[in-house]
């Protein structure tokens, strides 16, 4: 009866987890969904407390209290900007728990003498993945927190070394499966796993840490699933599988969003294939983005100012830009068009083009009318404009456009630039705005890019 209750809570918990994750597909429902998942967790814990094997509760209570006392401030006190680090460190703790459970199983079963090969395989798997996740997460935390240097750390023969370590660990694992009662092998494997976690993350750059954390998530999932197999616990298997699959997929998707493959992210430093996304005059970096990535940002923006330029006309993208504007408005945002006096190639070029798409006149704003509003604007969407948003006009007396008043796109909270390349505009000069950390570049023909954005926003 007791067992039945536990099983029922486990089943319910699994369902809650799945539903919770599903709800993340909809920004509006996501929070409610995560509350569901939290309830699932509570159920699983309560269900476990009724398990027959549990005979004493003081240790449990102690652990729960300690964990809560540390966990709550960790979650609440940290600044929003430090979130990725916290996720990494919280992850390390979770993995440590899994590792400890594995070690415990090994220890209590007479140092392996009391387990079958199959169970040992599960146990070993658990310990291996758990351990490397622990150190890997700590390393990721260090890189994100800038305790460790953010740049990839490499040295000669690193590759050979890592591979041999890995081979050694796998060998030990195999030995353990064949002959479980082998404490030496177990402890050695554990140590090597910790080491691998460190070595794996060292050569990856700080900016790629989110991918790493997500991948470690996947490993932690596999460890949990292995625990589930070892102790015959379904909720562990299910959650483990969920995490294993989703973590892997997520890290692939994240790499893709950076226009790189997962292998490139993980082993990029070795092959020297470091993808140079672009470096500006002053060694500054350009942030290239994808329609997918910025679609939600636009959809949920409150105030968007569109800055059309010559490129909009060249791409004949006027109709699509109107569509995008309407879509943002349907999502509750406000869209204005900032018309620079010399945007385009003839006086009134933008007026003609936008009128063709039937964009109402009262959405069009003169430079003087709108220049004060950029500070409150969430996204400045620069469509094929260049010179008219070039801060050099304000700051660089040697520039041919010095003295021309410009649209204050650089004052916006974030800037999204749609153009085909890093090529210059009419005046033939570089534009610092594109290297601004707040700026994301969506490369491609403006019409194509806008069409993609529209499709992405509609698909939300």
């Amino acid at each position: 009866m007791r067992d039945l209750f536990t099983q029922a809570t486990y089943l319910a918990a699994s369902i809650f987890f799945i539903l919770g994750l599903r709800s993340l597909a909809h920004p509006d429902r996501a929070r409610a969904g995560m509350n569901q998942a939290a309830i699932g967790m509570l159920l699983a814990v309560v269900g476990t407390l009724f398990v027959q094997e549990i005979v004493t509760y003081q240790w449990i209570i102690a652990g729960l209290i300690i964990g809560t006392v540390i966990g709550v401030p960790l979650g609440t006190k940290v600044k929003m900007t430090a979130m990725p680090q916290v996720v990494a460190i919280s992850h390390a703790f979770g993995a440590l728990a899994a590792t400890l459970v594995g070690v415990n199983e090994f220890v209590v079963h007479d140092f392996g003498a009391g387990v079958s090969s199959g169970t040992m395989a599960a146990l070993g798997f658990e310990t291996l993945f758990g351990a490397l996740t622990v150190t890997g997460s700590v390393m990721a935390w260090g890189k994100l927190q800038e305790v460790l240097p953010g740049r990839p750390i490499t040295w000669p023969f690193q590759n050979v070394m890592n591979l041999s370590l890995l081979a050694g660990t796998v060998g030990l694992f195999g030995w353990l499966v064949v002959n479980p009662a082998n404490p030496l092998a177990f402890w050695l494997m554990l140590t090597l796993s910790f080491l691998i976690g460190i070595l794996m993350v060292l050569p990856i750059g700080g900016a790629d840490m989110p991918v790493v954390v997500s991948l470690l998530n996947s490993y932690a999932g596999l460890a949990a699933a292995a625990t589930g197999f070892a102790i015959g616990n379904n909720v562990l298997i299910i959650c483990g599988a969920l995490n294993g699959a989703s973590g892997l997929l997520l890290s692939v998707l994240m790499s893709k969003a950076m226009n790189r493959s997962l292998t490139n992210v993980l082993f990029g430093a070795f092959g020297g294939v470091q993808a140079a996304v672009g470096a500006g005059t002053a060694g500054l970096a350009v942030r290239a983005t994808t329609a997918e990535d910025v679609a939600v940002q636009l959809a949920y923006a409150q105030r968007v100012i569109v800055i059309p330029g010559y490129g909009l006309a060249v791409a004949q993208a006027q109709h699509v830009v109107r569509e995008l504007g309407e879509l943002i408005e349907k999502h509750g945002g406000e869209v204005k068009y900032a018309i620079h006096p010399v945007a385009g190639r003839m006086p009134g070029h933008m007026n003609v083009i936008l009128a063709e798409a039937n964009i109402p006149y009262d959405r069009l704003y003169d430079m003087d009318e709108i220049n004060d509003q950029f500070e409150q604007c969430d996204v400045a969407l620069v469509v094929g404009a260049n010179d008219v948003v070039n801060p050099a006009a304000r700051s660089d007396p040697s520039s041919p456009i010095y003295g021309m008043p410009i649209l204050n796109a650089d004052k916006a909270r974030s800037i999204l630039v749609l153009k085909r390349s890093m090529n210059a505009g009419f005046a033939g000069i570089e534009n610092e705005l594109f290297y601004d950390p707040k700026t994301a570049m969506l490369f491609g023909d403006a019409k194509a890019s806008l069409t993609k954005l529209v499709a992405e926003i509609k698909a939300l």
């Binding site: 018309i339 006096p341 006086p347 009134g348 007026n351 069009l364």
Partner: protein, 364 residues
Amino acid sequence: MRIGVMKETAPRERRVALSPEAVARLIKAGDTVVVERGAGVAAFYPDEAYAAAGAELGDAEAAGAADLVCKVQCPAMAEVGTLRAGAVLLSLTTGESAAAIQALVNRQVSVLALERVPRITRAQSMDVLSSQATVAGYRAALLGASSLPRFLPMLTTAAGSLTPAKVLVLGAGVAGLQAIATARRLGAVVTGFDVRAAAAEQVLSLGAKFLAPEAIAGDAETAGGYAKELAEEQQQKVIDAVDGAAAASDLVISTAAIPGRAAPRLLLRSTVEKMKPGSVIIDVSAETGGNCELTVPGETIVHGGVTIIGPLNLASTMPQHASQMFARNVQTLVDHLRRDGVLAVDLTDEITGAMCIAHAGALR
């Protein structure tokens, strides 16, 4: 059947009743067409084009001797004699003296008045009022744009921002709607106005705004789709609404008309005096007296900085396409009149009956 095309003699009339293309269609249908030399020149249809289409070229007498004589304007007294006695005349009969009509009757000429084509679906392709009003509306908008000392569209340039012109179109019939569409194309902010309830949706369907004065009791539309005259008090409401809108406008194009009556007065002197210097009024209804109190038909006057133009026969200022459309209407009508290859004036026919104002020596 033998069809004659006479040259227009009225001043300012540059259209011709049949274009070479329409002539070709008629000849294909078995008719013979005689065209008076030079008939199409003012509409940029040279005689050679008619000859190439298969027409015979002749003098006025040759054209007048046909079974069916096509003309744009009603023949003047002097021209009546050119028509064969007993012929059928197909032309407008507006703007011509009753005397000329009587002379035609006396000559046993059957007169089919083009402006009387009934407003039914089937006759749409014979309706010259619609086709010529289309031209008039387009020309009115162009004339307005050309007469304004400012841009119609909005323009943001290095030399400052120019606001779009505000255009008010009074009367949203065929001409009014076309004027709205044309002004909108040029980038103006357009407001339309009409007393018929159905017009509001039509104006909005062109992307323009509609000026809705305080509810006009009932609908001011007759069965034929035309407007009827308004009661005194309603008329006042309309004038008040127009007054405010016109004062805020740069260009007013007025096309309001009531068939068979003088054009309704919508723009008073006081309204004009409220308008900004440089504003323009194009009074398309000048022919029937004008919607504006100050309009002088056929002339351009400036009153306190406001230019008021009262164009006559606007369609004729774009003679080629106006003639082409006119000719297509006439040709469709001829096809309708032709029974087994011969001309038949069947007074029981819904269309022919409505058009015929004189037959067999008597006015109808």
